[in-house]
Symmetry: D2
């Protein structure tokens, strides 16, 4: 009899049912966390007298052995044993007999599995935070490497105003910083121990949950057993945070896919991150970027899966919740590998500076600065906007830049502005004119680069 619960059952479980209900193919990944939690649990049982100290120590050691077995790939996994908890407990009983049968005292799989997942989650969050930091470093590196480079800034994918490439990279550093903040909030909220809430109502045994919490590095215990048994907020919140990361990446990927087109021509992607075509010999495709973009859909779908999964579930544990790990691990792995790829591509992508510079005077990137120049001279903003709009139309008709218009054209909209106006025209002048806090003004960007360096500890 291999199940943990067979006493009241007469029929045998069908093999097809075993295959349908098993989770070992998914949750074997939690073996280290399951063992760690069981060791802490055993020590606690020893400390409160439900085991003798020697018994507790024996269990702890045997669990350590089992960890080694799994680590070395020597554990045989079987869907008949349902899940990782059963596999490990069964191995323990094989080793220790009746003593092994005592480990599950004062706990249930319901609290055990969420404890395992929370232990895994803490590590996962720390790893993603690290990956985000590495991507931020790559962005910072790219900002510094391209310190002087001016890019056309876009809204609606139409050329809008000039921005420093460094300002562009700093924008993504901010986005990923918010993601890191959300990860930290999620970690803090999740870091409460469920173990010992047992199936749904707690236990009549004198277990010491606070002790286990301390040993496992939790900041406290989940205070309500019904809540513990039914709660998957921490899984969902984490996958939500990952969804935002994936969506931030998707926007950046889209941008770089555009920039790597022959039409934009801003970027050279290294061959290593591109693939070719099985039929078109000339192709060099930004596949990695496309997959990063596309997989944002999958992470978001994992979130959707979880949200729909818990809809309308009454308290407390329902088997539906077993499905949480499929979505959790999938979203985690995609974001982890996407972040790694992104950091590499950001580090190794090269701007085609001269091609960018060459076309920089397309799109009237200086029009807004010209308008603000008029505002400074007392023209009401709306009137200045309209006046510049007309100058743009004139330039378009003549096929020239604003700076190519004769001085009179400017005089007519801002009498007395004279030659001054030419000091803000042209992309370089327009860029140099910025001054507001948070703008692309070189001084502002430098300040923020400095700040980011400090924040990232580089």
């Amino acid at each position: 009899m291999s199940k943990t619960w067979g006493g009241r059952f007469s029929g045998e479980t069908d093999r097809r049912v075993e295959a349908f209900t098993e989770s070992i193919s998914i949750d074997r990944r939690l073996y280290r966390h399951d063992i760690r939690a069981s060791q802490a649990h055993a020590r606690m049982l020893g400390s409160v007298g439900l085991l003798t100290p020697e018994e507790a120590e024996q269990i702890v050691r045997a669990l350590g052995d089992i960890e080694g077995v799994i680590e070395r790939g020597e554990m045989e996994f079987s869907t008949a044993l349902e899940d990782i908890h059963t596999h490990i407990e069964r191995a323990l009983i094989e080793r220790l007999g009746d003593l092994g049968r005592k480990l599950h005292t004062g706990r249930s799989r319901n609290d055990q599995v969420v404890t395992d997942v929370k232990l895994w989650l803490r590590e996962a969050i720390d790893a993603q935070d690290q990956s985000l930091a590495q991507l931020q470093m790559a962005l910072l590196g790219a900002a510094e490497k391209n310190r002087e480079l001016i890019l056309p800034g876009y809204t609606h994918l139409q050329r809008a105003q000039p921005v420093l490439a460094a300002h562009y990279f700093l924008a993504y550093i901010e986005k990923f910083q918010r993601d890191r903040d959300r990860l930290a909030d999620c970690r803090r909220r999740a870091n409460l121990l469920p173990l010992g809430t047992a199936a749904l109502a707690g236990s009549s045994l004198p277990i010491d949950r606070e002790r286990v919490a301390r040993e496992l590095g939790f900041s406290g215990i989940v205070e309500n057993s019904l809540d513990a048994s039914s709660d998957r907020d921490f899984v969902i919140e984490y996958v939500f945070v990952l969804s935002l990361v994936a969506l931030h990446l998707s926007g950046w990927a889209e941008e770089w896919i555009l920039w790597a087109t022959s039409e934009f021509g801003f970027l050279d992607l290294p061959d290593a991150y591109c693939t070719g075509s099985s039929i078109m010999p000339q192709k060099k495709n930004p596949d990695v970027l496309e997959l990063i973009r596309g997989r944002a859909a999958r992470v978001t779908a994992d979130l959707q899966n979880l949200l729909m999964l818990v809809k309308g579930l009454p308290l407390a544990y329902n088997r539906d919740l077993q499905e949480d790990k499929v979505a959790l691990f999938d979203a985690n792995d995609i974001v982890e590998s996407s972040l790694e790829m992104a950091a590499l591509i950001v580090s190794q992508g090269r701007f085609r500076e001269s091609a960018i510079r060459e076309k920089l005077d397309r799109g009237f990137l200086d029009a807004t600065t010209l308008m603000e120049f008029l505002v400074k001279r007392g023209v009401p903003m709306r009137s200045a906007h309209e006046a510049v709009g007309k100058l743009v139309r004139t330039s378009e008709e003549r096929g020239c830049r604003l700076e190519d218009l004769p001085a009179e054209d400017f005089e007519s909209v801002a009498p007395g502005s004279g030659g001054e106006v030419f000091k803000v025209l042209g992309v370089s002048n327009a860029l140099a004119a910025f001054q507001s806090a948070g703008s692309t003004a070189p001084a502002e960007v430098n300040k923020r680069l400095e700040y980011s360096r400090r924040r990232l500890g580089t």
Copy 2:
């Protein structure tokens, strides 16, 4: 050099990039379809002179060998070879040298992969259709086994009117019939050959796509190469149809989970489809039903994944589309196993007839029939509704059934109805009174059972 496209590349692909971009772990499942399509393609190349007939035959035979190799698990799969197409082509070249290098003539991986998927899809649709038919048979069997059983029918989960259990099972037969209709529509729409549209624009070679279509059992060819290269409608439509199947199953599963509670007490589920608790020795939980319900979220998330994946993608092929198979296979497998489980549970679940009968007079299931009785006697429907509403309130206050009220109470609302009224009171009478088409009237239900038997060919 193992890739199919290395000529213009200088850098080596990074191993991490290979792991990130590979699809062989997913698409190896398509090997039979890839080989079948390649054989048809080779024969066509032979028929139009791009290969000699002998060359074509050699390729066909070698592909057959390779199929055997894979079948026997002797193919070594490697992420360096990206996908199943490359694995098979590489194996062909190893066997045939330059002749193998000719197979990819007049096609691209873009059209090859959708051809493979469509071949797979046709089989998958047929299998799901078969599974749906089996579930319908199980439902029909249950309907016939419980021919006389009356169940309380519910709206808002409140007892509403009596229905025959057979009528209940027929309702689900209808739902799954619509699903089968949708599958058939999806199959018909998908059954056009993309092969030969090549990368996106077609080919300058004299290939004969109609011939390939005929050989592979397609009803025609995709008529526009740009469309073929970018189209994933057939994947999305299929996963949508699966979503509806999964949601139909989820409603049924919820119902049976309720019916298996000690509170409803309608159903005995066989032990084989339940599991126990690791801590609560008395528990017998309807895990399989819960997983069927829960996994409806996953199928729906797979749909969501696909919908989001294609949003805003310009023509034609983009690498994002590679991700379609993850969602496609996942949704397919879940629904397939859920249908299998559902058919088994429907066949083996047992109604607790006496427990159901015992409580059947709770909830005034005859109230509506009483109202319609009054309507037949000329009371305007709204007035009859109000009158019966008051009789129900009276009964509730007295803690009795409608049939326990004295005749005078009925006289006061429908003068002259006399003893007649008692002929429609009580659940059995109420049920017998039904007569409208599609209702739970025994005659109607029998007619429909007969019809379903014929439709299912039993």
Copy 3:
């Protein structure tokens, strides 16, 4: 007493509850369909003797009057009256007294509302089909207007092979044709009358559902009352079909947003479909296209809403289902207006032909044709692919086109190909070389234009 169901209730409904549960703000839109269905129902009641013919006629006329009242905006809507059904029935009772109280005989709001929605749905489907046809006409018009124009075709957003603009427009005609097919399937499946299945079990009155079905143009009746009461497949399927339409539009919109950038420079969008910036005077933004793209997310979310709504709902009607109309109407309206906008923009957008032509020799669009040229001369496809890949690399290094390479370079990969090779080099030659069915070959495109004209009846 305003509700239709107050008899058994003692407490008054809370105003906040009325506001929370009302659907009149949403379903008033169904008034015509509700009246049409009620008129058919009344005539049927007359025909089977549940009303006298005169009574039936009186009700039909009074309902006609009420329709006029609503049409003229003179109906006062109130959340206290819950929904459109109650408003109309109440108005009927005000006019006809006890006779009005008879209309609801043999039906329930559960079947009434789905009947109304199905009547509305048929009209909506026909309207969307019309809108799709108009968009197809606009696409066909654009194809014919730009008959000679060659565009760079893309995969991975990298220039791939040349395609005729007409071929491009035909690709979308195909996609929208599949959408129309799906609409037709959805309509056929939905076109069964639910009315007369009453609350969930049918009726004990001698109603004639087939007669009502005929009068209302349904192809038959829903055959199972429990199914009718719980079924929302037709709503979900319709919103799914709309989702695919919206996603097809989103891809096209993305493409045209790209094409309208200064970097691509393919397109001039008419001012009427663009807006400006409140601060940047030079901006002309493709807002309409962006909203079409963005709203695809909303349509898809409407689908998601519906799918999640029905998850785990037991039979039969549950109040959750009331929410279906919010999603249904929202998705319908978005797609309708998006299709209208799309047709206008397709008709009025202008290609910048000379700008396109000027850059057409970028990206080695003729490389694949060159490879196929070598294949025709007996070079194995994979070897030809590699050889051309190297020629592309050489050209890139020299900064020239393939056709600018000396004849020797070609001789070395395909001895004896001599001057012939230059006949397929260059974009126009490459395009002219296509010949496979469904390709961008001019003859193929012409055939398909002809076919589309016939199919669209122009």
Copy 4:
């Protein structure tokens, strides 16, 4: 000329385009926040010399007047004026002429709209937090009102162990507390001023963003203008937090729908929160609960909408983002009204105590306590589990409770346990036996009630 951007345009905007692109029907709700932000902006312009102090004061006063006009419903809204920003600026210009034309100095609609939304969001978060607190109070009230009531606790919807009703209510208090924590995190992260980042790059004018931030109660400024222009994280995060609230509500609603069935029979819902049937006179349906459950799907779909909306958007502002408010307001309003309803229903629902008590000994709720009793006596947990499993099977076969088994049956599994065992059998004994932290032990529950009272400040 009514638009804010017409200078460079020649064509007129089409009326259909105006209807398609307008947001005034949605964003008029932001008028107070728009005016507040504009007043702060005007004062700042006065302080830095871009306006004279008198001009600034004039604008502030005129904006106050306009607020009154809107408040009193006297503003005429028109789709020709696009959005609330334009309406208010236009009204200002009508009042102040050229002075009004100066207000938009140093800002753009891109930063203006997110500033408005953030101001609105802070209020909305505070209101939701208040609503959550009120629901928690209602739950606490219910916990105290039902202090002694024992409920069957469920896992898998099967009776599991006894729990105090107070413990049940406390579980939801915990869940909603996490929601409040998430709201607080979201508020903190969102509370940075975007105004002054202008279109995407900042401004060349000497504006003082810190001053505006202070006046409007922001904790700082958004530090990167490109980020500000493209960021919708705060909207998405808020709607995510609302989704979790809605899903928590959906679980509770499902539970109470079940508990209000005649089968469970735990609860009496007040008539005011139920509605009847148009055809079945006896029905009393838990419509409000069903709508709360159903609308969780809509809130989740709003989240999905937002996530999909931003997928693959390049920097910075794109018009797609206008759609964010539809989802934001919808989710906010649903959750707000659902929370209000939930608090009312929790307060007014009444447990049917005697009906609950009567059936409390069904389902072997004491089996686990019995097992733990054996564990205390030294039986290894797994062996105890199996032994009790068998006792349960015996009881089931005999149709009796565990406490009805003879002492010998217990002796055989735990020799010497004698009469002691009967002290933990029976539901009341089993409940009294709990002792672990966070369990349903009366002492633990009391401690937690006390804590919750303090936390809620009651």
